[in-house]
Amino acid sequence: METTADKKYKYGMVIDLDKCNGCGSCAVACAVENNVPPALEKMNKRNGLTWLNVSTVSSNEQFPKSESVFVPMFCQQCEKETPCMTVCPQNAVDVDPTTGIVGQIPQRCLGCRYCMTACPYHARYFNWWDPEWTEGMKQQLNPDVSPRMRGVVEKCNFCHGRLHAAKQKAASLGNREIDPLDYNPACVESCPNKAITFGDLNDGGTSVAQLAKSENTFRFLSRLGTEPKVYYHSEKKWVQEMAEKSMTRTHVANEPAKEEYHG
């Protein structure tokens, strides 16, 4: 299957926060694509499985001036000293050197949750419950993605199932490399405002690489030095400043972010 061994990719994303209206399609598409089980009634904001979570952040100003922004947050695919990978005791987290994607191998995962405490983005989720699907939903499970059992950690992997399918297609056509059009994560495809751009950051020609380098593009917690590969873009000054600020200097909206549950 290793048909793309020669080329080194570095997949990344740029999310235009100015285009995001917080509809939550990306979160739903993500859950459906990756066989994330529907939330149980007992679950809450903090123990449900939300690989892609949209938070609402307010500028915290008085009414007429008040503004808010929606921030889709998920695994930021840290490139350097990937915090979750270095701490996992049994190599259940790996960074694919050919794609730069941080993968989670649930079959190896012990469920110690050390990676979750290591992740500054809170992008990792633990299966506190046994996954449950209704009979009808079982029919719609994605055959390219294996469901996870209770007691293991899971997270966004840039839709690994789709990458795999694209590789297979390329191989069947006799190509060594995949067609970029064949590989786009579900959230990218589902966004009605086309706020998310995805692609190879190593290839200077792609729009994602250009956007990542453009002005007004930033990353969250970039000062930690983990070199995340998910970028955010906003023309608004306060949003840019918010991303650079650490906790107390930014005031969080009093109202907790609305959770986008899937299913």
Partner: protein
């Protein structure tokens, strides 16, 4: 009833009394077993941990318990390697406590992880760069060492020692104890350190992250030294507690003083290093990551007072007390200082786990709170009950304190007097006023 199992010439309470003593612990154990069953069979949703608070009371108490259990390795090191003979009086107790602490911690860890059956994966394909790998390897090896060190104590039981092979094996094993003490020290150095390293390496948690010295973050060394300081204090406190419960003198006063001195010496070194580390973190590490350190203390309950309490009230104060030979003479002050040391370790481990996770990292994060569910508390109480039972059984049916015989003979005259006067000894589980009342109104002996 169980007289043939009790060491010859030592006084143990009656079998009925003993049953009364272990009954509540057994009940506690049973509740714990049920809680553990729920967590293992149904899932960890029985806990109040969540994706943001992925570590909870279990990890915090595991760290505490392992630090307090450090007395086993440190006493062994001082006795067998540095030949401090006075510690012979408490080595057995230290080993039993160490065994309880470590096996309890491992047991709770097994409940804490989502897939305990996969624990062997860490051995089969380890990530040697992970602090948790180091912890897993050392903890497993050290638990085996503690079990081996525990064997001679069990084999000293009166009936078991009747079997010549057992007694001779015990003797041979005992002769080789320095090897185990050495290995235990080596392993403890690494896993106590790695438990600190666990948090020090968290680049994504600027509150916990520390710069590396060599291949380990500074918390590695702080944890080793603080555990070595807390271990002797904890042995001091537990020995005193056993003496209180059994109403007997079990070790000579010098032993207490020596333990206090050892604890104080390690503690003063710890306070010094911890202060340097904190200053470096406030002025360099934390702001370097974009998080001015005092912002961590600006949130709600965890103010700078916690830092002050940890370093000064639970650190410097008991260290100075324990290093003063005149203050050590006073048993109450000595034990009080030991209590402060143990509390300080507990607070430190609390800060490292709970505060680290409560603090936000993303700019739009909230400060989080967490309180354990009853299942989490019951699982921990299981360990307490298990420890109480194991210690009580070992104490009853073997000799934990080698000085007990000698001291009971020295105090023999006294107890003889007591028997002659009162006729009945108050069962330890009975409050004094009850005994007094009974004696007053019911003339029959209890």
């Amino acid at each position: 009833m169980d007289k043939i199992l009790i060491p010859r010439g030592l006084q143990r309470t009656s079998f009925g009394n003993f049953l009364m003593w272990i009954l509540p612990w057994t009940a506690m154990l049973a509740v714990g077993v049920y809680a553990i069953y729920l967590c293992l069979a149904e899932g960890l949703f029985h806990t109040n941990m969540d994706n943001r608070f992925a570590f909870g009371i279990w990890i915090f108490l595991d760290l505490t318990v392992i630090a307090l259990g450090a007395g086993a390795f440190f006493t062994g090191f001082l006795l067998y390697i540095l030949r401090r003979k006075e510690l012979k009086a408490v080595i057995n107790s230290a080993v039993v406590i160490g065994l309880i602490c470590y096996s309890g911690a491992v047991l709770v860890l097994a409940v804490d992880v989502g897939q305990p059956m996969r624990a062997w994966f860490t051995f089969w394909h380890p990530n040697v760069h992970s602090m948790l790998t180091e912890v897993t390897f050392c903890l497993t090896c050290y638990l085996i060492v503690l079990l081996i060190e525990y064997i001679p104590i069990v084999l000293k039981n009166r009936q078991l020692r009747q079997i010549p092979k057992f007694l001779v094996f015990e003797f041979q094993l005992h002769k080789l104890m320095p090897v185990f003490a050495g290995i235990g020290t080596f392993l403890s150095f690494f896993h106590q350190g790695s438990l600190g390293g666990l948090f020090g390496v968290l680049r994504g948690r600027p509150f916990a992250f520390r710069e590396e010295l060599g291949i380990w973050p500074s918390t590695f060394f702080l944890f080793v030294i603080s555990a070595a300081a807390a271990g002797p204090s904890f042995i001091m406190l537990t020995t005193w507690l056993v003496e209180k419960i059994t109403r007997k003198q079990l070790v000579k006063p010098e032993v207490y003083k020596f333990l206090g001195k050892v604890s104080g010496t390690m503690l003063i070194a710890y306070v010094l290093l911890k202060s340097i580390d904190t200053l470096f973190w406030i002025n360099s590490t934390s702001p370097g990551n974009g998080f001015p350190a005092f912002e961590f203390y600006a949130t709600q309950s965890f103010g700078t007072w916690i830092l002050f309490t940890e370093i000064v009230f639970f650190g410097l104060l008991p260290a100075l007390v324990l290093l003063n030979s005149r203050l050590r003479e006073n048993r109450k002050i000595l034990l009080g200082a030991g209590f402060l040391v143990c509390s300080g370790i507990m607070l430190n481990r609390f800060v490292m786990t709970i505060q680290t996770l409560a603090l936000p990292t993303l700019p739009f994060d909230d400060f989080l709170t967490y309180s354990p569910s009853w299942e989490e508390v019951a699982t921990f109480l299981f360990v307490v009950a298990y420890g109480m039972l194991l210690y009580s059984l070992t104490y009853r049916y073997s000799v934990i304190f080698p000085q007990e015989r000698e001291l009971s003979q020295m105090n023999g005259e006294l107890s003889q007097q007591e028997f002659a006067d009162g006729g009945s000894r108050r069962p330890f589980w009975q409050p004094k006023f009850v005994t007094d009342l009974l004696n007053k109104f019911v003339s029959t002996k209890l």
